[in-house]
Symmetry: C2
Subunit: 198 residues, 2 copies
């Protein structure tokens, strides 16, 4: 920890993703010159969030309570479980879709080289939920990266063992995208999986 | 203040310049998922900086002590004073040049429409320094914007009244710049102010 509060602020701002030396300086000066109240509020919010926010006992998403809002809600459909890699994915799905089921957040993806196996992703918790809860369909919404696909494969086998139906987000050309600018593997996949029109 | 610590963190991260909804989310998740220690350190550094850092009584730059390191130093040349708009300019000049004089930080520029006049920039403090201290040269290093130029003009008159020599940073084509990509007014100025080679 450097002794000068200004240097220490510059240093510690750099833990934020995408913040280098120059932006740290811009941020520090902006707060000191024009927005001390904002800086104090951020300091408090950060301290509070780091101390209070923990993982939901049921879905592993971030929450302050033992279980998160979505898991506590009695309005959600218990029969559909959507498995995602990160809390950001939950936010994205909640914002974009009308999904009314529950989630399971892996907080990562299978990546044996990085030492991330089924234990690190809490897959035994997921297995016991599949067993005990009245889940009929598991939507796999991991990323479409190599590791995301490997994770999806593993999840599918788990669900099959418990006799739970499995679905996967549709893959193809993005809406509003131009074919010309779509990458080759997406285009090849979309072409191969073309759907008959009624 | 929103009640949920996560929402409050997202909200308050947006006081940082250049941070919108998406980057706030990315920052919050990164800290919660992977760097709680960094988040706590940033919280502390922010709180401390907002509370402890104030303006140097002599040059108006940010400091923890009543006067800043540069003003306290006995190694600096008292006869040259460099006037800049912001603390960032001091950092830039210190990093790029071997300047060994002292500074005066306006913390702004003359901008009557925004209600920023000589009082807001502490120009009476500057005038009394010009009068009392053995200052022989005042380097005007305000920005080369319209307001920076107006401020420079005002500063020059002040220095003239006190019989202090005035200089201004050289203006022209940037080093390593291509003429083709230099803006028209810079090029016109550089052309008009061309220097004879010995």
């Amino acid at each position: 920890m450097s002794t000068d509060p200004f240097d220490e602020l510059l240093e510690s701002l750099r833990c934020l993703p995408g913040v280098g030396k120059r932006s740290a300086q811009r941020m520090a000066l902006q707060l000191l010159e024009r927005d001390r109240a904002g800086g104090r509020r951020l300091s408090q919010a950060l301290g509070q969030a780091m101390d209070l926010i923990r993982r939901c006992e049921s879905c592993r998403n971030f929450t302050v309570e033992p279980t998160c809002k979505i898991c506590r809600s009695t309005d959600r459909d218990e029969s559909i479980l959507c498995v995602v890699e990160s809390p950001a994915d939950v936010l994205a799905i909640e914002a974009a879709t009308g999904f009314q089921g529950r989630y399971f957040v892996l907080l990562g993806r299978l990546s044996p080289l990085d030492g991330i196996g089924p234990d690190e992703l809490g897959l035994s918790d997921l297995a016991s939920r599949l067993e005990k809860e009245p889940i009929e369909e598991m939507i796999i919404a991991t990323n479409t990266t190599v590791e995301g696909e490997a994770t999806a494969h593993y999840l599918r086998q788990m669900a099959n063992r418990e006799g739970v139906r499995v679905s996967r987000l549709a893959q193809g050309v993005p809406l509003g995208g131009e074919l010309e600018h779509t990458d080759r593997s997406t285009l090849a996949h979309a072409f191969g999986s073309r759907q008959m029109m009624p």
